[in-house]
Symmetry: C2
Subunit: 302 residues, 2 copies
């Protein structure tokens, strides 16, 4: 089934304890689209870049079955840029630069053919823009997944709560779940967040895995312990792409499929962090994905 | 099979965001023994208390099948006392008082009948005393499990490394694993710690569950997300008691049994935190334990 991925396509400069990568390809929408491409060849991407974005990278996305009709290329403008440095524990990072560039004018207009996309992945953006995308959909969607972050809770909580009314799955981290709900217990937080709209809540805990909550049911997925994490950038977006990719492939939205989708999201994220940027996601084979899934089965079965 | 539990039997005064409990029963050996008592009725306890320790509490332990021949009662002396206050997140706590009292003179002498105990649980104590217990064993043991903490790594690393040579299973938390090994990656840390002696390493991550490492194999166990954590005191010791209890009950030491033992440890820990002190562990039924085990199966199956 068709997937709509909305979010940033970016340049990143990244420093981790393992090395440094300058002006490499990044962006939530890029990571999510690559991850989803292992499950679907009907991915409709919505984003904006400047005319500095390399054609070869657009071709690479297209080769993965990603429809770029919704990628606006703004002339005489620069692509969104982010620079960050990770600490030794890789869970903490300092943002050194955020140049919004084209993102400042992002006014997503969905191509007609996109409006009936069935599986919607709204990457982290201002809640108002996320809502603007939802407003253009034709109402035939199977599921709307939204990713957000603490920044929007600080500066645009009302807009965020408004868009959440139209969302089926919310993906945030544990501290964000606590901030959004105002309570510490994640079980209680999930109940409060369900009341806001999302029937499903996914709490991403980085190296500690992820929790899926829905209607009193809980599923706990591990992260794969890795000998070496090279670059955590994009892991959450890659998770989201694998998650929605699996759902779209099987075209069934229930708790049982959601659980497997969370595992496939974790599988894709575990590859993402093995190399800088989208490098590992580009070279992945279906066999790699299936083999890593079996590793997750072994990791959790008792 | 017979279990030997060694560690503190204590009075605790505990303050959590949910309430306060004064001079209640605590101690690593107490928690571990209660937890193990749901799997075995052959538990040999080794500890020391003052003559202020209530007879009714010793009777309660004996009622659970705990052999108190190795519990030294020192006259005109006070039982070990710990006072702590937990922060809102329950992962952090401040120690307000630590009165070693009788623990200062703890010189464990194993009763003859204890020396052939098959499953050994050495609770957190000075490494020298842990070694002293090992030295009294008759060599017929199936497994020796040792719990320790960062404090001993700070002040007695050499003694700790020395006792680790005689240990099969080490239980520590993630920060302690990093401190002991000197590396950040838990996968690499496990390899370094295996070289120190323990064939099995269990990394306890509190609300994030536990990891079991052995010979390149990894098992990830979740913690049960709870609506309310009442008092985390003793959760790690309760985990250890459930873990060794399960192994002793099935009298098989391999990775497959270890995985189930980690789940049963997590089951017991999930009860421990529901009430202050050992209160919940005292009232538990076999049905409660089995039902909670099924909850863990549901929580992790996909």
């Amino acid at each position: 089934m068709s997937i709509l991925t909305v979010g940033t396509v970016a340049f990143d400069t990244i420093e981790t304890p393992r090395g440094r990568a300058e002006m490499v390809i990044g962006g939530a929408c890029t990571y999510a689209s690559y991850a989803a491409s292992y499950f679907s060849n009907e991915i409709n991407l919505v984003s904006i870049v400047g005319d500095d974005f390399p054609q070869v990278e657009m071709d690479a996305l297209a080769d993965k079955g990603v429809n770029l009709e919704g990628l606006e290329i703004k002339q005489n403008a620069k692509t969104f840029f982010w620079e960050g440095r990770y600490h030794e524990n890789m869970n903490q990072r300092d943002t050194l630069a955020t140049d919004l560039n084209v993102l400042d004018d992002f006014d997503p207009q969905l191509p007609e053919s996109y409006k009936s996309s069935k599986y919607i992945m709204l990457g982290n953006l201002t809640p108002a823009i996320q809502q603007q995308v939802i407003d253009q959909l034709d109402g035939s969607q199977k599921i709307v997944v939204l990713d957000t972050m603490n920044f929007w809770m600080d500066v645009a909580m009302d807009e965020l709560k408004s868009v959440l009314k139209n969302v089926d799955v919310l993906t945030i981290n544990d501290e964000e779940a606590r901030q959004l709900s105002g309570v510490h217990s994640l079980v209680k937080a999930s109940e409060i967040i369900h009341e806001m709209g999302p029937k499903y809540l996914i709490i991403k805990k980085g190296e500690h895995g992820a929790l899926l909550f829905s209607e009193g049911k809980i599923f706990s997925a591990p992260a794969l312990p890795l000998a070496e994490v090279f670059d955590p950038t994009g892991a959450g977006d890659t998770f989201a792409g694998g998650f929605i990719g699996y759902l779209a492939k099987h075209d069934t939205v229930d708790f049982s499929h959601m659980k497997k989708a969370v595992i496939y999201g974790s599988v894709m994220a575990s590859f993402c962090v093995e190399e800088f940027s989208i490098n590992r996601l580009k070279t992945l084979t279906a066999e790699d994905v299936n083999s890593r899934y079996e590793t997750f089965v072994e990791l959790t079965s008792f």
